[in-house]
Symmetry: D2
């Protein structure tokens, strides 16, 4: 049975990646693509790499245009989906790639985003372990409204949650530094995202600030058993279009050994096709997961400082956004979780 | 029916790309992967992006190890396949991604390569038009020994052959300049391919020389109807891992109009899924075909100089090498030509 | 004697580069820096790399603010300097890095730019040979109004003019393809200049069109002795912030030898510190001239097509713009031409 | 008075950068350049960007060839200078850019490097504050044997030492993550440094290991007042040829305020031309210091985790290596410390 699909925000980077992935999904057929400014144009004028959708034309992003589909993916700027989603068909599966429905705490919403709070939807990084056993994927089964996780939050949470759920690391003073590509910012026309500013340079931004990704990370770590986790989050823009390389460190609890660490991480992701812990001594590179729905984790214990260093690579547009959204939709609809998702990266 | 496949040279870039494509091919099953120095290692140690092949181990590149498969892909350095192939099972389909069997002229071989000449195999860029109608793909049907085309020759030939076959352009004084990524050179350890040499720089090489790609281009242009074509070929290494952006210009014959040019190119590739002519005013970017088996052509007539400018983008490792090899194998075996091949690029 | 200097458009890339060069010029002292939107900010807020100017504040770009200086450099968007310059002190040396005063033909201006024509100023790529002997630098001595050449026009003209002045090449059907970095476009906020669009890709633009650089190239080639030169010009954006690598080819006149070619080019630039012809077999890389006021030329004769291939590398912001402007000012003021200008690139 | 200079290892990246800087130094004249494999070649064949040294020829790296100069700079692979230096003229100033003479602890040498220990020379990052007042520069005055600091150690030490010397941060559990360009590895021909491996990817290496830079950092932090500092050090290769962006975090001692932090850092580097603390809210980019002898520091207090985050940008080849060596030589010889050194970066 083929399900009809609409993608809102189809002229952006996340929307384009959703379409690229959906083009290989056997159960979904994209019928409608919408945009704000570019409505009326052929999709391919905005996304010239999506040759298989040469017959689609962008229509305006309205509830009417999104109606009548089995599945609706929203790839809209933050703050744009909240209002729209209230008008969508209750029976359709709606997956929002934006942040509007991620946070369960209205206080966090007010503190980190502000503006109207539209309430939390089913949220889950499928592979994330939760306290007491199981994974976040269980929260997605049968859902009709899903808030897909943010790319940075997924990266940091996946890297460190195994240590939380196994009680091996301190939940406070988690320190993360992320090398990130500019595509995560979408097509926003700001000087800081111009090629001339990014090429040949490493550019940190919003350091020490109250990043919007932090409450989302904390939310997942609490599900993993933490009560009051604290996370330092420093993103550095580097000259690659895609990719997140998150270096996440946490203090080990007294007496924890490197073997216990490795065992905990391997247990947490045992059998997971899309989240893999590399053998001792190996570290992941973002190129290894480019275009793939895969997160790779390299693990080291730094005995001198008493910390575990978990380095995680993912493609912000795939496992970080569009792949995660499709994976979540698969789970919600009861399809095989891996359907239409690729595990192999495009390298070099 | 699943065909068993061996890939020789599986630790290199071309070999890795063959495997990435084959992982999505429903009719092929990779049973054997071989290497020279890295034999004995898990494939994934050399190709950490190929997660779906985690169970394969590299064995030595010998005729014995390659025996017993329905299809053998060779991704070996130039000069390495000639000897080996003589020992392979005559009944197997062998597709050589190297240059050893491409040239039909032993004189050209001696002039541009030198060393032992191993004879030409069935060669074809499937979509290339040939004089008198038809395409090079007809040369591949039923073949058991195929020399897959070189990436640079494919780019230049596909860009300009429609003008030759339609007798719209002069066959002499074709001028091509190519922006190319370094992955085309494989993993060769030369200073010129170090990241520090390539990053932030545009580096021409072997300018004005007798490039090995030229006789291969001439061979295809002769099939398209030229008798003595001459081609200037200037490659410029630029800081992108993959991709060829070929700017190919040829003098228009007297009186040829822009409309005739467009019509000739569109006719030549009408209905081709993998070679597409963009609408007037659009130009292709290599990012649009990254990871895809697609070549995109932008077309302009420069009236001031009386030339057509055909700009072609392809991914050197896919449409330029591994995708071309799989496409050829599909044709040779009578499978649907597009099986296992992706038309959508990974962008941005 | 120290001359007082104002730089208009100091918050842009060309303005910043002027300041970087002027910071090392012993005869100039920058007193005033102006901008449009960013007036009122410390210069260093817009140009954080210019640490030596930490005490300068941007003031508005007005004739009043530019008055009272010995030398005024204008680094404004095209079309912005024409009106302003009418109001500047006639006794000051004004060097315009924009296009407004480059073209001597009002017809060309109307055809390629349009809008009000403000008349031509003294224009010269100092090293360009002119018919009958001498160089364009002679046109700059003593001038008080100078139109600095455009970066692309300088690259193509310098590459091929020696063949014109020596009557070795045909003046028609000159074919040029340029790999260019995005900094030449300044800080314009267009999607095509976003890092995500440029990284990992080669992007041609405006192919076959009537590039604004063409009449400027023709103007210089006519000075070199051509009567009706025609030039095809194809720019390709590549992922490096700076640099132009121009591959320029021209048909050789019958009987011209490679030795004659080399001699002509070496004669044309004999003794020039900033324009150097590389030995046979060597080709320039843009990294070799990054940050330097140097243009390097590699030379080859492609006998098969009967063309000379001249490959020229320069830094679009230095030899292409700001260095050229300072060099011209040195000449106009009777200073040593090389003062404050660096011949060594920053590589790797 | 002009001092005669020899540069050993002049065909490598560090050697080339020494020469680029020395070309603008008014008191030094480079007379001799040496190499291992490339001896006999013109310097410019190996360093085509150094146009001003067109008349120099590489000679073999021997004590005899290095004799008779006032100043000798060594830019040799680690382990190569120890033996050589024993034979150099005791009266000459020798500045070693390698690691052989940096560590004062033979135990550390044995643990982190191994092989013969050649003893420590005068070592100093000039601006680093030392306990009890003053800076490391005092250790360099009048020295005749100087071990120039390593680039990574300089970056981390400069970022965090102000907190140590002012007793504001804990000396243990310092966590640093560095985005680094590949030029720091020199021209070593390893697969991991190929452009195809680096382009479009972020590649961590040697994570959690006992980096050779760590004892050098500890040595400087002890001079700043720490007794047993511990540092976690994670380097990530990113696609820029030069630059280090070090994110260094340390736990604040109880009660320390953001104002105290800012004051301590600003005091530590007050009046320093080459190490500057940016205003609140600003962060440095590596492009801002490209080609400059400048280190820029951005500062933030992350109250949630109780850490200071100091982000430091420097050019690994200039302030990290060759600029540091020249600055040290200036100090040792009693020249003005800033002579020949540039504070402005080449951006964009």
């Amino acid at each position: 049975m083929t399900l009809s699909v609409a993608v809102a925000g189809a002229s952006g980077y996340a929307g384009g990646e959703l379409l690229r992935i959906l083009s290989g999904h056997p159960d979904f057929e994209v019928r409608t693509v919408t945009a704000f400014q570019n409505a009326g144009q052929p999709l391919i004028a905005q996304q010239p790499h999506l040759r298989s959708f040469a017959d689609l034309t962008l229509v305006e992003t309205t509830a009417a245009n999104l109606a009548g589909h089995d599945v609706v993916f929203l790839a809209l700027p933050h703050g744009k989906s909240g209002e729209l989603t209230a008008q969508l068909d209750p029976g359709a599966l709606v997956v929002d790639c934006g942040a509007d429905h991620r946070l369960t705490s209205e206080t966090d919403w007010a503190a980190f985003y502000g503006g109207d709070y539209f309430g939390a939807w089913a949220y889950g990084v499928p592979e994330l372990p939760v306290a007491g056993g199981g994974h976040q994927r269980e929260r997605l089964a049968g859902a009709t409204r899903i808030a897909a996780p943010g790319c940075n939050a997924s990266a940091v949470s996946l890297a460190i949650a195994p240590g939380i759920v196994a009680s091996l690391v301190e939940e406070q003073d988690i320190v993360s530094v992320l090398a990130v590509g500019p595509s995560g910012a979408g097509k926003s026309l700001k000087t800081m995202y111009l090629a001339s500013e990014i090429l040949g340079s490493a550019n940190p931004y919003a350091v020490g600030g109250s990043h919007r990704h932090i409450p989302e990370i904390q939310q997942s770590l609490r599900l993993a058993g933490a009560s009051d986790p604290t996370v330092s989050f420093t993103p550095v823009l580097v000259p690659m279009s895609r990719g997140i390389l998150a270096t996440v460190t946490a203090r080990l609890k007294p007496g924890v050994t490197a073997d216990e660490v490795r065992e905990a991480w391997e247990n947490a992701y045992h059998g997971e096709p899309f989240v893999q812990v590399l053998p001792d001594g190996q570290m992941p590179r973002t190129a290894d997961v480019l275009g793939a729905n895969t997160a790779l984790i390299g693990l080291a214990v730094d005995a001198a400082v008493g910390r575990v260093i978990a380095v995680l690579a993912l493609d912000n547009l795939v496992k970080g956004t569009a792949g995660a959204a499709v994976q979540s939709a698969n789970i919600a609809l009861g399809l095989t979780e891996t359907t239409g998702l690729n595990v192999n990266g495009v390298a070099p």
